[in-house]
């Protein structure tokens, strides 16, 4: 049994093998692997006995369930109105300068992926971003350089 297969089996044991368990299982795999490969989606389909197309259809609906290989740290910068008014672009430039990647790309060492996302619900502390599940607010290019260099050593 491959490591992903046993991960999926564990998750299915925990959440059940019903259709309602699909989202928690998908989230569990993403938590570990950072994305859903075709292989893991087929395996999930097999484990809870539903068509693989259904798994794919569900996974691709949700923006936090990636189906493309992602880095270990996924940076999601909020691009909705308040953040974009309060200097989101400068924040993005600072990240791009440091990591030498564009939006939607992953660094060559597989450490960082950079994405934009819709409203994070932190408008009063704009601009804001998430790195995995961690929240960062009131960002400035200076702050970005500190945060990212911190992550570079992790």
């Amino acid at each position: 049994m491959s490591p992903i297969q046993s991960l999926i089996k564990d998750l299915a044991d925990q959440y059940g093998r019903k259709r309602e368990s699909l989202l928690p299982i998908l989230q569990g795999v993403v938590e570990q692997e950072k994305y859903l490969s075709e292989y893991s989606m087929v395996e999930i389909a097999r484990e809870i006995d539903i068509p693989a197309a259904e798994v794919y259809g569900t996974a691709t609906f949700y923006s936090f369930l990636e189906v493309k290989k992602m880095g270990r740290f996924i940076i999601r910068v909020c691009k909705t109105i308040t953040c974009s008014m309060k200097g989101k672009s400068q924040v993005l430039f600072a990240i791009q300068d440091m990591l030498k990647i564009k939006i939607g790309e992953t660094t060559a060492d597989g450490r960082f992926s950079l994405l934009e996302t819709n409203c994070l619900g932190l408008c009063h502390k704009a601009p804001a971003m998430l790195i995995n599940n961690e929240v960062y607010t009131d960002l400035t290019p200076e702050k970005i350089r500190e945060i990212i260099s911190d992550y570079m050593t992790k």
Partner: protein, 394 residues
């Protein structure tokens, strides 16, 4: 200029009260009918934005017979400019849980869910601890009620109640046809009460202090207080609890930076109010006698004169285009075409009159889209285009 200053602050939701145990014990000593009457007489309306009377929701579900019923707390707070629910769950989660248990007691349900948006995953560990403590106390007073957290995964549309059920059932978060409404056919096809986080927090206040205290605040048709998420061009962004029915003029007087050009009331799916209409606009549910009354989920975004309204609209439409679930054509294609359309007008590839065509398109979307997302694009689009037409063209 407003000479009489009328913004009424309140402090109920975030008031730290360590007596939820007593409140819950006293709730289950009363009859379900009594609790429903209390809620109905408080005239509490849903604080998520739609404004359906909460007491009525509970009443309908309580009268149905079913082997299983559910209580769901909607914490999929995705509307641009709203962040109050996060703060409630962070600071006073036990109020929400108490109200959920009260609802379970009233409708005859022993299973509650909090649908927490994926962006708020960082709240989960702390919330689980509170739930543990809460369930332990429920057991002590012989109240059979369990709460589980269901995590979302980044989809604005899942805040729509039926889309939320679909998502919990492991499917794409696509809204269902209504009716049937959640009260009769909700999660897993069972009768379900689904309330916004803030609504539940207010229900706690009402059960603790009585309906009258709540009813005495606010104005006719818009009773009680409301949390406002204030952001944008303001010297003091944050969350404020204010009485409903205030005039927008007073609001801007308090929160504006002196140069406020417009206020977006109710987030991207709400209305933009330009400066000249501040005085005639009140914040509350529909039905006030004078002037325009705007409902809101609590999002108040201020823009000063340095902001281009074209960029604002462009940002909203991009948001809607991405968050439209794609299920119904008016919304899926409509959002795309509106975005392409305003860009074409701005670049001069289309005449200014093309904007009127786009306005008619939003009207069509309002009539034909399946759910609130597609229907409400017209709100922000028409209020921005009609009030700031020249900014769209030049």
């Amino acid at each position: 200029m407003a000479t009489t200053y009328q913004l009424k602050r309140a402090d109920f939701v975030f008031k730290n009260e360590n007596d939820w145990e007593q409140v819950l014990s006293s709730i289950i000593r009363r009859s379900p009918q009594e609790l429903i009457n209390e809620l109905i007489s408080s005239e509490l309306k849903g604080r998520g934005g739609a404004g359906f009377p909460t007491g009525l929701k509970w009443k309908i579900t309580s009268e149905l017979k079913a082997d299983k019923k559910y209580v769901i707390c909607n914490a999929d707070e995705g509307e641009p400019g709203t962040f109050k629910d996060r703060e409630i769950l962070q600071r006073v989660p036990y109020k929400v849980l108490t109200a959920m248990a009260a609802c379970g007691y009233v409708i005859g349900s022993n299973e509650g869910y909090i649908y927490l948006r994926g962006e708020y995953k960082f709240l989960e560990p702390e919330l689980l601890k509170v739930i543990d403590e809460f369930e332990y106390f429920c057991k002590e007073i012989n109240l059979d009620f369990k709460v589980k957290i269901f995590m979302g995964s980044g989809a604005y549309i899942c805040g729509e109640e039926t889309a939320l059920f679909e998502s919990m059932e492991g499917k794409r978060g696509e809204p269902r046809n209504k009716p049937p409404y959640p009260s009769t056919f909700g999660y897993m096809g069972k009768p379900t009460v689904i309330n916004n986080v803030e609504t539940l927090a207010h229900a706690f206040t009402i059960f603790k202090y009585g309906a009258k205290k709540f009813y005495d605040l606010g104005v006719q048709y818009s009773r009680g207080t409301k949390l406002f998420s204030v952001s944008g061009d303001t010297p003091k962004p944050g969350i404020y609890e204010l009485e409903l029915g205030m005039s927008l003029q007073d609001f801007v007087y308090e929160f504006g930076d002196g140069d406020t050009k417009a206020v977006q009331v109710g987030g991207a799916s709400g209305f933009l109010v330009p400066r000249k209409k501040f005085a005639d606009t009140a914040i509350g549910y529909q039905g006030k006698l004078t002037g325009i009354s705007l409902p809101t989920g609590g999002s108040m975004m201020l823009f000063n004169s340095s902001r281009s309204m074209f960029n604002v609209l462009d940002n909203y439409l991009e948001f809607f285009r991405e968050e439209s679930c794609g299920q119904c054509t008016p919304c899926r294609v409509g959002c795309q075409q509106l975005l392409i359309g305003i860009k074409a007008v701005k670049r001069g590839e289309r005449p200014a009159t093309y904007l009127d065509k786009l306005l008619r398109l939003t009207e069509t979307m309002q009539y034909t889209a399946k759910c609130g997302l597609g229907q409400s694009v017209a709100n922000s689009f028409s209020s921005i285009v009609e009030n700031f037409r020249e900014e769209m063209i030049y």
